[in-house]
Amino acid sequence: MRLVVGVDVGNSTTEACAAEVDEGRETERLAASLTPTTGVKGTPANAAGVVTAVRRALEAAGRPGAVVDTVLLNEATPVISGLAMETISETIITESTMIGHNPETPGGEGLGVGTTVALDELGGQDGPVVVVVGAGADFDDVAHALNRAVERGVDVVAAVLHGDDAVLVANRLDRRVPVVDEVAAVDRVPLGMLAAVEVAPPGRTIRTLADSYGLASTFSLDAEQTRQVSPVARALAGTRSAVVVRTPEGDVTDRRIPVGTLTVTGATRSIDVGVDEGADAIMAAIGRVAPLQDVAGEPGTHVGGMLAAVRDTMVDVTGQPAAEIRIRDVLAVDTMVPVTVQGGLAGEVSRENAVALAAMVRTSRSRMQAVADEVAAALGCDVRIGGVEGEVAVRGALTTPGSAVPIAVVDMGGGSTDAALLDRDGRTDAVHVAGAGELVTKLIDSELGLDDREAAESVKRHPLAKVESFFHVRHEDGSVQFFAEALPPHVFGRVVTVTPEGLVPVPVRRPVEAVRVVRREAKRRVFVVNALRALAQVAPQGSLRLLGSVVLLGGSALDFEIPAMVADALAPHGVVCGIGNVHGTEGPRNAVAAGLVDAHAAALVAP
Amino acid sequence: MTSDVTDLTPADYPLSINRPELLRTPTGKALADITMAAVVSGEVTNEDLRVTPETLVLQGRIAESMGRRQLGENCRRAAEMTAIPDAEVLAMYNALRPNASTAAQMEEIAARLEGTYSATTCAALVREAAQVYAARNLLAEES
């Protein structure tokens, strides 16, 4: 009997499988282990992780310190991925002409049109006035002053406040007028100008100021002027309250931000594509030059910087000259990010367009021999490098009960999504495409405006629920769960993730449904898109229909919804897709390590 | 236990230096057996790094020889407690909190200390507490 340990060095984890093999005897797998990969996959730094993984596997097998006959390593090659995001649109307000934010609680209802006047200067005005109230005013004092002015004959038609006092002031007015509050930069509202204030009833949105012709009627605009203010109307759509001030040069613009170009190079030609053209344009350009040979970005942009960093890291890791490093895959995804409006007076936030880009570079220059030498020295045993990446994984996956050739595997990791195929003739093919778990986290983070990677990670990994009382939660699927003991106060009334450690509040003010949509869309746009993209590259004749079984491997295969999402996407192509169960026992883990052992055992039988 | 330990004096302190021959780990190893080599080889485990009831009694004697009667008693109670599993020690502590146990529950703990663990000093402490709690209205309501 010989004690062998198969070791799979992956991007993020190193897995080991200890087994006893002998000619003519059934291989006996003893135990498996899992440890974080040390250093970049395929580089000498991996040796430490390999040694740890071997030691762990032996400990788990109840044979610590046992003499190992052979360690089997996969032929791992370095893969480096990067992630960047560019915001490509912005809203700019000039001359403080518009306040379109959504204070939680505006006061009053309706539309008021008049000339802007500071509270202190109230009195004696002819015609309707919109009162502008600065910081530090007390709600009782403000209401009192407005009521007095109305008594004196001033036609107060609306008010704009600095503090969060709109309901308080409106409730104290003898005459009901719309009041907009929480305008942080109220001191910049131009005075003596015609302005309109509109507040919609609770649960409704404004009608007049969010409509071009409504604005035209309000401010008596001609056709050309109406055309000019139409961006204002668009920008105000969907808000419950708004203020528009008519000034000589005032304007709202919604413009594209030039964020540089990407140069995508194929075998025969190069195309420049503007990042601000969006994800579809970028992916289309990549399709046109296929097969992609390299991508470069413009220096000084996030994307350019990210691509350069990816390249530099690979240079550091492999020692190859920069010129030889090629970026072989890019995934662009459209997203929305909340951005504070430039020139806004109330800290208004608009949801701007952005493009997220994942890139990946790999090299064929593996330095596994160095790893092997170091492991051999540390453990004092024979170390063999064997098996082309992908090939071994497929063989391991094939031990999943019910799977059959042709078989493809998809391994969705943190930085890249990998696919491999074993066809009926025993040929294998493998690809790596950019974009995986990290990109999903980033999309969730930015789209929910969390600015909190941990919270985004939690949303990605766990189902959602709403804590409806101290004794029950409503899960995202609508089911209700009751608790005998009161839930902790910090989750009361909140949207939470349901984690093994308990309920964790998600710092958002949106309903569960909205958060769920963001999460699933992010996963769909990355994992589903990439699974299909990668499979199409390895599928016979590029046709998904010709794939027999698709087996999902790796950590993402353990996700609570990704496997089902991928399977649903593949179903129309007549593909059987499921979660790997290596040797019927290991689940989606250990395919490569077990595959190495199997291949080794097979070689013993038939040398 | 050897006979010369009854007359331990302050001069015997520290035992780890002056009387190492009196010390054993719970698995019977000598102090000198706790070496790095033994740790690395797995011969010494966490189980070895605990104090034995015998050692606690010795330390209690030294404390008493310094006139520290109560510290000596504490060592004696501790010696009895070495046999009680961690979780049960904590459970007993929680049961001794005010308004946490009925008179019957307190007696149950005392009986268990005495019966299962031969912890007579600890049992006496619990019974004494039960008496005081009864007088000061600190027992849990019988339900």
């Binding site: - | 302190y13 520290p14 780890s16 102090l31 104090v51 310094m66 520290r68 109560q70 008693e73 501790a78």
Partner: protein
């Protein structure tokens, strides 16, 4: 409104320029209140404290300080039955208080005699004695009665971000500067295992034999102790009235049981109490702060715990605000020492806006020396101090060292050259990096090691992936990682000397030597307790004297002009 905002001008009268200057002095940001003795808002001189008395019948105390046994509350009962020596109490109580007070001061009365006499005294009698003493006499008393001969010091090593690398680096620096014990606590409690590991590894890098603890709720604290990740425990609070004790969800019996539980696992432990806590919680039962604290001290003694952390601790703002309050705080340290307990003597909480007041509050412990002058000198900047700030922090290191040198007193610290500090900080961070790698905990980057080497506060470190760290912390508990696993990890990763230091600390658990009164470790792993290093002060020329090699160490400061070559500084 924050505490550093100046007081609003209330008077209509135009103030003088001088008044303006005085108004702006930091001391006027402190709060001061008038006494209210009926409610216990009084330091130590109150007409409402009981008169001393004791009566013994059938070998049992049946009257204590004016109360008969049928009227005892549980503190009276516990003290009468466990703390006071029944055989000697009637004779001891018959000794005039002034006689006893003089014995505490008079070098010709031996420590042994005055401690023996103390075993028979009731709380009111003890109060009656210390009330006769002024603050210098109290210091004389501490100098004589403190249990260990060699004074020591204790540090807080915490991080506002619960960053284990920061805790390790500051623990290492603290240890090399001389702290004998290091204490930590958390902002996010779930971080505890990683921070406790950081503290232990860092401490053993700085100086082998440093003892560490992590202040948490009892179950987790005991668990970390039993695994050998921490070495002692301290935050076991006791109170001077029955009602406040019960509000704290404990009784003298539950705490006594807990004391034995720690000892049964070979873990050093002390209780914590302090003047002001009862009145702060509104239930002083009309007794002075010091009277109630004396009850705590006797309760601790009765429980058989080896020591006590007292000196008001987290309630220092209360005695600090009443007349004679800091004298009372010094007196409570004296009583703890006199009752033959190890005394970790406070100076561990934000006390005053005034640097002068902070120093004067410190001197009654620093000058006579105590078992731990500070029971928490902040070895991190106060803003990183998760115990809510200390009376002294890292900014005060050079001042402290200078006062030691000026007064020729040993406050437990020393000046250490920059290169040595950088070296131990770097090594602590690297050792922790190796341990984390060995244990599959979230990696510590070289950038973090570099930051730790040169950092001052948590702001100087890269942010950690908190989620991953918390996951790692959970796995430490779940996998049952023990101190021995850490030793092995250190040994395997080339930190054999640190591993050896740590193993020595763990090994001591078998001997129980650290369970004795005031036990600490020397750098050579010799347990130093109030047995083999018992205080032998007997007047001038005796007891601990700052001389020889240690004095040479303490003569060093950051900048001292060389006598040999005045153009250079001594290094």
């Amino acid at each position: 409104m924050t505490a550093v905002e100046p007081r609003p001008q209330t008077s209509e009268v135009r103030p003088s320029k001088r008044t303006e200057v005085l108004e702006n002095r930091p001391v006027n940001l402190d709060g001061f209140v008038e006494e209210w003795p009926e409610k216990g808002l009084v330091a130590m001189e109150s007409d409402f404290d009981p008169q001393p008395s004791v009566r013994v019948e059938d070998g049992r105390i049946v009257e204590l300080d004016g109360r008969t046994r049928d009227r005892f509350d549980f503190m009276d009962t516990f003290i009468a039955d466990h703390a006071i020596d029944v055989d000697t109490c009637e004779a001891a109580m018959a000794t005039p208080s002034v006689e006893i007070a003089r014995m505490l001061v008079d070098p010709r009365a031996s420590r042994a005699d005055v401690v023996a006499l103390g075993r028979g005294l009731t709380p009111a009698k003890i109060l009656d004695v210390v009330k006769l003493m002024n603050v210098v006499e109290i210091m004389m008393g501490i100098q004589k009665t403190r249990s260990r001969r060699t004074p020591a010091n204790q540090a807080h090593s915490t991080s506002a971000k619960d960053n284990p690398i920061q805790v390790a680096a500051d623990a290492a620096e603290g240890a090399v500067r001389g702290f004998a014990e290091l204490e930590t606590t958390l902002g996010v409690v779930r971080y505890a295992p990683l921070v406790a590991i950081g503290l232990q590894v860092g401490g053993q890098v700085g100086r082998g034999g440093v003892l560490t603890q992590c202040a948490l709720e009892e179950a987790t604290e005991l668990d970390l102790g039993m695994r050998g990740i921490t070495a002692y425990a301290e935050t076991i609070s006791i109170y001077g009235t029955e009602s406040v004790f019960v509000d704290g969800d404990d009784t003298p019996w539950s705490k006594a049981f807990l004391a034995s539980a720690y000892a049964s696992r070979g873990i050093k432990m002390r209780f914590t109490s302090g003047t002001g806590s009862e009145v702060q919680m509104g239930n002083a039962e009309g007794r002075s702060m010091l009277y109630l604290e004396i009850r705590c001290i006797l309760m601790a003694k009765g429980a058989g715990v080896q020591g006590l952390q007292n000196g008001s601790i987290s309630c220092i703002g209360v005695p600090g605000a009443v007349p004679g309050g800091i004298r009372a705080v010094a007196a409570e340290n004296l009583v703890a020492s006199w009752m033959d307990l190890e005394c970790a003597s406070g100076n561990d909480q934000s006390f005053s806006h005034s640097a002068m007041r902070r120093t004067s509050r410190l001197l009654p412990q620093m000058l006579p020396g105590t078992d731990f002058v500070c029971s928490g000198y902040s070895a991190v900047p106060n803003k990183d101090n998760m115990f809510a700030g200390s009376n002294l922090d890292t900014e005060d290191y050079d001042d402290w060292n200078t006062i030691q040198r000026d007064m020729q007193v040993d406050g437990g610290l020393r000046h250490v050259r920059e290169d040595v500090i950088l070296q131990v900080r770097n090594k602590a961070a690297r050792a922790l990096q190796a341990v984390f790698a060995e244990l599959d905990l979230p990696a510590i980057t070289d950038e973090e090691v570099e930051a730790a080497t040169y950092a001052d506060s948590s702001d100087d470190y890269p942010d950690r992936d908190v989620l991953a760290d918390l996951e790692g912390a959970r796995s430490v508990m779940e996998r049952g990682v023990t101190g021995l696993d850490l030793v092995k990890a250190l040994e395997r990763s080339g930190f054999g000397d640190v591993a050896e230091n740590y193993l020595q600390v763990l090994r001591q658990r078998v001997s129980g030597d650290l369970l004795q009164t005031a036990a600490i470790f020397t750098g050579d792993f010799v347990p130093l307790a109030a047995i083999n290093d018992a205080n032998d002060y007997a007047g001038p020329g005796t007891g601990y004297r700052l001389t020889g090699e240690r004095w040479e160490q303490l003569k060093k400061l950051r900048h001292v002009t060389s006598a040999e070559n005045p153009e250079e500084e001594v290094v």
